[in-house]
Symmetry: C2
Subunit: 398 residues, 2 copies
């Protein structure tokens, strides 16, 4: 199961919630295993998950009729109670015995049609006897006006925003989530290796980008983040691969990562085409030490802000005295920025099971950008890396 249900129950109790409703695609998939295609690839389509507090009723999924077939086929889905809404026609062959898969679909299509997503959600809440309780609703996935409409439709309930509850729960990963994140990180590393295979003088950034995404797709990943810049273009934080041709001495910066079984990667590595200058070596070393310092320090109970301070000071001490950053990392999971952010002001405590991107990017217009970014999971005594490579500078024979 993707969902950390113990933590969800704990957070619901702590926030005085009798039930919680997921509305953003990442929270719907996270809490139920249901990946509703339209909701992920467009803005607007609505799917929800209702999870009552322990002992308060059975969880349910609210889905458009046109998307219930995915409930029948997705192994991740652990919730069987479904409320569907909207018209969608599927026929069946008369006189033929249906496979288990087809029968599951037919059963879903045969459920009553609740007309609209909000109708279906209110029915699910009322059927659990939760119409007079405190309901937390992930406010960011709803359409404008829906939140107030739900409160009007459930006059005896108290409806509260609950996006932050989901974000807090998601911060501590289940073993299945860690497995997917590890694979996502590996695919990103393999994709960098494929791009570097063609990194010769005269090759374009665009060609490296195509090789990168082609490998991601070949490994069963979905391309998402593909910042690949060479020479001075590597100083652009969000550089998109362009027509610039690689030259001898170029820095090539990768800040990249796709999605694997819904889970994100976000890693960074640097290669140099030929012999790096002394300054590149020194700066990259300082940035790498910054990441290693953070990794040595991260363990349950440490403040995020303390990790930030230690990493930034290490980089400053090791070779970039003017180093300045907004953050030195962030959580990663089904969203590319999970809790916590590693910033100067975030005093949240690191917990066992959090997965983090730890990074020390440095962007210098007129020269280049350098960056090390690793993915790790927090264990009882420190960190376990999700990487197969280390963050050292890669030196390519031109």
């Amino acid at each position: 199961m993707l969902l950390n249900i113990e933590r969800l129950n704990e957070m619901m109790a702590r926030n005085g919630l009798d039930a919680i409703v997921a509305t953003l695609p990442e929270n719907v998939t996270y809490s139920s295993g249901y990946w509703a295609l339209s909701q992920w690839v467009r803005r607007g389509p609505q799917s929800y998950v209702l999870i009552p507090a322990a002992g308060r009723g059975e969880p349910s999924i609210i889905a458009a009729t046109s998307l219930v077939d995915q409930l029948a086929d997705q192994d991740d889905v652990w919730i069987s109670k479904v409320y569907r809404y909207g018209f969608f026609n599927v026929d069946r062959t008369e006189g033929v015995e249906l496979s288990a898969l087809d029968q599951r679909q037919l059963d879903l299509y045969s459920l009553p049609d609740h007309g609209t997503a909000i109708n279906a959600l209110c029915a699910a809440i009322n059927d659990c006897g939760l119409g007079d309780s405190v309901i937390g609703i992930d406010e960011l996935g709803l359409l404008p006006g829906n939140f107030d409409e739900i409160q009007v439709r459930l006059p005896n309930a108290k409806v509260k925003p609950a996006l932050e509850v989901f974000r807090t729960v998601r911060a501590v990963k289940t073993p299945e989530e860690v497995n997917r994140l590890r694979r996502a990180a590996q695919i990103a590393e393999q994709s960098i290796a494929s791009a570097l295979e063609i990194a010769k003088p005269g090759a374009t950034e665009r060609e490296l980008g195509l090789a990168f995404h082609r490998r991601t797709a070949s490994e069963g990943g979905y391309p998402v983040l593909g910042c690949i810049g060479s020479g001075p273009r590597s100083a652009m934080p969000n550089v998109e691969p362009g027509d610039r041709k690689l030259q001898y001495g170029d820095v090539i910066r990768f800040d990249v990562g796709g999605r694997y079984r819904h889970y994100r990667a976000d890693i960074a590595r640097i290669a140099v085409l030929g012999e790096p200058s002394k300054q590149i070596r020194q700066y990259h070393h300082a940035l790498h030490i910054g990441v290693l310092t953070a990794l040595e320090m991260i363990r349950p109970g440490v403040k995020a802000s303390a990790v930030f301070d230690a990493a930034v000071k290490a980089v400053q001490r090791e070779g970039i005295p003017h180093y300045k950053r907004s953050h030195v990392g962030h959580g990663i999971g089904i969203d590319g920025y999970d809790v916590p952010n590693l910033t100067a002001s975030n005093d949240i405590l690191i917990e066992e099971g959090m997965t983090l991107c730890v990074e020390t990017p440095y962007y210098e217009l007129g020269s280049w950008g350098l960056q090390v970014e690793d993915m790790i999971v927090v264990r009882r005594d420190g960190v376990e890396s999700l990487m197969s490579t280390n963050g050292a500078l890669t030196i390519l024979e031109p």
Copy 2:
């Protein structure tokens, strides 16, 4: 330019708007050419575009400081006035003359920091002297509460929801948009061809899916939609490629399409591994005639509902008497479902320059799913296909 600015001005005038604000990623990119990475790959990050009505001021882009580098490098961007918000540090090499690209970035980083996205938007509106005017705001891309907050911050303005204005404008494409859609459709066709190359008995759906997405990535597209199902699984509308092995006689249904330079494809084709049954031939022929009937009928001034009726009746007449559908197609563009939907109740008139997916899917549990879906652009006298292949059944030698 992606934006149909004449149509936008016309729609602003018709709706009594003095300015309009894009907030959804598709509307931001469409109206300004600016593709703000974080906004596209996550839910929450905010970028906006303010476009005053003709003669009411200069358009502007509101962007996070961490994303302004993309404004300096993206050829599509035609708006030069920028309001940035938030802290993000980028250094520069002292004593080195900067390239034009680096200088553009430096200029953007040197703009005043407006703190928050809403502050920056309100400053942009006030700087145009629009603080007491009627402002249409694309309500779906904002964070909860932002819409009301903008009204409070601009007490003399009247703020109105304007998502539908953007959707109406986007329905009629500019030549550049049509070019991208054509290429997106071709990439989908090429990707189907790559998947079919390995479609032999014993190959899995998953292998076909990998071949499909690999080809899309190789052609510079981003994988999005990849419904590929075989045998009875082809009857699942949103089938995800699984471990089922292809068998002699299988229907293979593709309902697929990636993104190319931000523009979507959505097409469908059917292959049969070996000799199709008489019923498959007859049903597929009926569905194909349904699409062809719609294509013959589509021209400026025709009602969407009339197209729906004609297509459904043609399918019924040609071999599937019980054929029933929610729609027979939809607009396509930077979003996978642009205006108009081709439904029984939609009396909107087809216009020159609209781009449509025209489709007649048929799903039969216990047998298979069949579907033809073509992408076209509406011209003065009819349709121009964006496809390189036709919708005929592909018969594979097993």
